[in-house]
Point group: C2
Chain length 475, copies 2
Amino acid sequence: MKPLEKKAITKKSENLSEWYTDVILKAELADYAPVKGCMVIRPYGYAMWEAVQKFMDPLIKEKGVENAYFPLFIPEKYLEMEKEHVEGFAPHMAVVTIAGGEKLQERLVVRPTSETIMYDMYKKWTSSWRDLPVRMNQWNNIVRWEKRTYLFLRTSEFLWQEGHCAHMTHEESQETVFWAMEMYRKTYNELMAIYGIVGEKSDSEKFAGGNKTYTFEALMPDGKALQACTSHDLGQNFSKVFDWTVQDKEGKNVHPWQNSWGFSTRSLGGLFLTHGDDQGTVIPPNIAPIQVVIIPIKPESVEYCQGIFADLESENIRVKIDNRDTKSVGWKFNEWELKGVPVRIEIGQKEIESGELTVYRRDKGEKFKMQKSKVKIEVKTVLEEIQKNLFNNHKEFTEKNTFVVDSYDEFKTIMKTTRGFIRAFWCEDKECEAKIKEETKATTRCLPLGAVSEKGKCIYCGKPATHRWLFAQAY
Amino acid sequence: MKPLEKKAITKKSENLSEWYTDVILKAELADYAPVKGCMVIRPYGYAMWEAVQKFMDPLIKEKGVENAYFPLFIPEKYLEMEKEHVEGFAPHMAVVTIAGGEKLQERLVVRPTSETIMYDMYKKWTSSWRDLPVRMNQWNNIVRWEKRTYLFLRTSEFLWQEGHCAHMTHEESQETVFWAMEMYRKTYNELMAIYGIVGEKSDSEKFAGGNKTYTFEALMPDGKALQACTSHDLGQNFSKVFDWTVQDKEGKNVHPWQNSWGFSTRSLGGLFLTHGDDQGTVIPPNIAPIQVVIIPIKPESVEYCQGIFADLESENIRVKIDNRDTKSVGWKFNEWELKGVPVRIEIGQKEIESGELTVYRRDKGEKFKMQKSKVKIEVKTVLEEIQKNLFNNHKEFTEKNTFVVDSYDEFKTIMKTTRGFIRAFWCEDKECEAKIKEETKATTRCLPLGAVSEKGKCIYCGKPATHRWLFAQAY
């Protein structure tokens, strides 16, 4: 809105961080809320979260995981039951101390994650192996108080889905952990056109209260990594502290094996960072709320535009005509480029007479002609090409900025200059990890799945190491 | 789960309130949470909330209202800006006073409704008539602290949608207010098979901060009314206190006209109360997560069942085979009756040999035969009939329990015995309304839309009155 305001944005090539904030605000994806660290997700941005839900929710249900809703508030003592869990989350808690005009006897924490409140109920609902697996998911809001916030990427409140399953065996639980990661990889690759590395977190980077954490790490244009979602093998940690057992087939009491996995609105921050350019965002067609915008060059071409609109809509293409008479054609071009709409069709007298439409491809910034008679098929093809092109670009960028490094000097130089992913041997000692972080700001992002065992020397201390870990500075 | 537990429930005819709680818990619709006044919505119950979203969300979008997300927390001073608004909500606020380990300078209220935080942003985003209307909706969670709670019907946290629109004129705003009510009526009638009366609230019953509130009032089996959703004409109250103006076409600054409208998980409580019987819930087919359950009488009939399953699924009927070998056939019959699945198909040797399936209709408790070859068409017809029958039953019940009353003695007698809706003249004086409430527990539920102007005398004071209002005791 505020239509007369100038929409100039900082160039992406000059200052990524300012460009990002400009784009988020001016493309009306989100805005700062009057509550510190919180944001408003505006309709254009929220539509992309709905697209994530539409893509992922059927995959979750197909797996036999059912949606449910657990309370926003968690009694403080629940969070305190698992020692590592409370240590991890305590600094980020928002606490309700007054309700209904009275001071509460028991303080309530606004959920920073729902393990504890969900598993208390799981315990209540189950007594035998017949009741397992329990597989539930919720789409909800989460609060983790943050001092330094960043639109979408780090906000005190965010939206996500959290899946929580409990199984009779560790094998079954692990299978679910990997299934979730594979679903997330698919969502990033196919919906968001984002490439990334799936792997296992080091002990110091894993989820507070879990045994193992798996992650999808995506490289951003400034060479920093975004931890884009996680899936946790919780072992029997929570079932033990909640004293939750079920009878197995032999009548023995056993603690269920659990996992949890989450994907949040942070992903949208990754999306906007990854694909934009100096003109604004570039939204991959599969997640774009508007895939094609049709702009009548003269008011007389509106009727003709409506024919094209109907053609495209009949193919389930998400299409919009911008026939506002309060804006110039040039203003509209800028606006839809800023908003990253993948394809623009311009229709003026020339196009009507020749039957050849002028088509603009946002990802390449190229204009070309398209026969009106072929618009249904060809627009579809162009959208598919854009989706592929964006993914390939990001994959290529990631590969170009992934360095196999065996010298700590080189490691330091890379982290001081271009940044990027570094594949380096690490002895898996926490102290080396901490020192590297201190000296280079780079952390272990993950041990990539399928990494081969090799003989090597720790990049920091020189002691024997068996795997190349992935290092990067992180968002 | 807990499969061996006895599922006996109180009879609906004997004690509605105990029956209701039994059914909610034992049909696994919801459960009490470990936080006072809060509940867990279990998958079977949550699937019905998803059905509401699936029904209503496209209607909202069709109107041009866009989904968005605003923060959970509202600075206390925002709520205090509108005097009636804060008075209405202050007793129900949950307040965050500590976050990130520190005492907050400014206390944050967990949203009891989002008018204030949304309109502050609307003001920021608009400057001219070109920017209006602003039309947004969010599906979110709400906290209103309650002393006495009741599963689904009154919980300290609930889920809802809240739509908030701002327009240049009062007429446009009113049009939206009525559009929302019509959408709600449609949802109740067509999805939930619930009949009800749409009307305007009296001043003392309207939304805190609004000018006029419209409501859908549904009569429950105990003769009490459920306020099932509301739509508010907010006038210019909020735009004035937020000092929000936009320029009109003549360049004059004007305060936008606003409305808000909400529909919550309370509706599910109404659904379960309305349609159940002594055997448990009866879920109307259009909202039922499982419309048809197929029960193999012998393990050998499972394969045959799968054929029927495929036939029904190909017609987009939501169907399930219960082939658990850990449960008896009788147990399964009880279970699915308790859960209110509209149609049960029983398949044993007899059915396989004759090609005639045994079909049980949950609403009427009747069994009949159906040719296997006709199952696709006939099951569809039966589901449609059940949907209609449930709605007609509720409409008939409501009409039978609506009384036109002109004597206060009769009024009191009805409210002491059968209860129900009473249509009686009221002079529209707050004092009479308060006295009637005090003496009979009945409140004005609404002035039904389209109520004709008549000459009458107030049922309480005898002074002239022009309309018959709808009275009832309320949930």
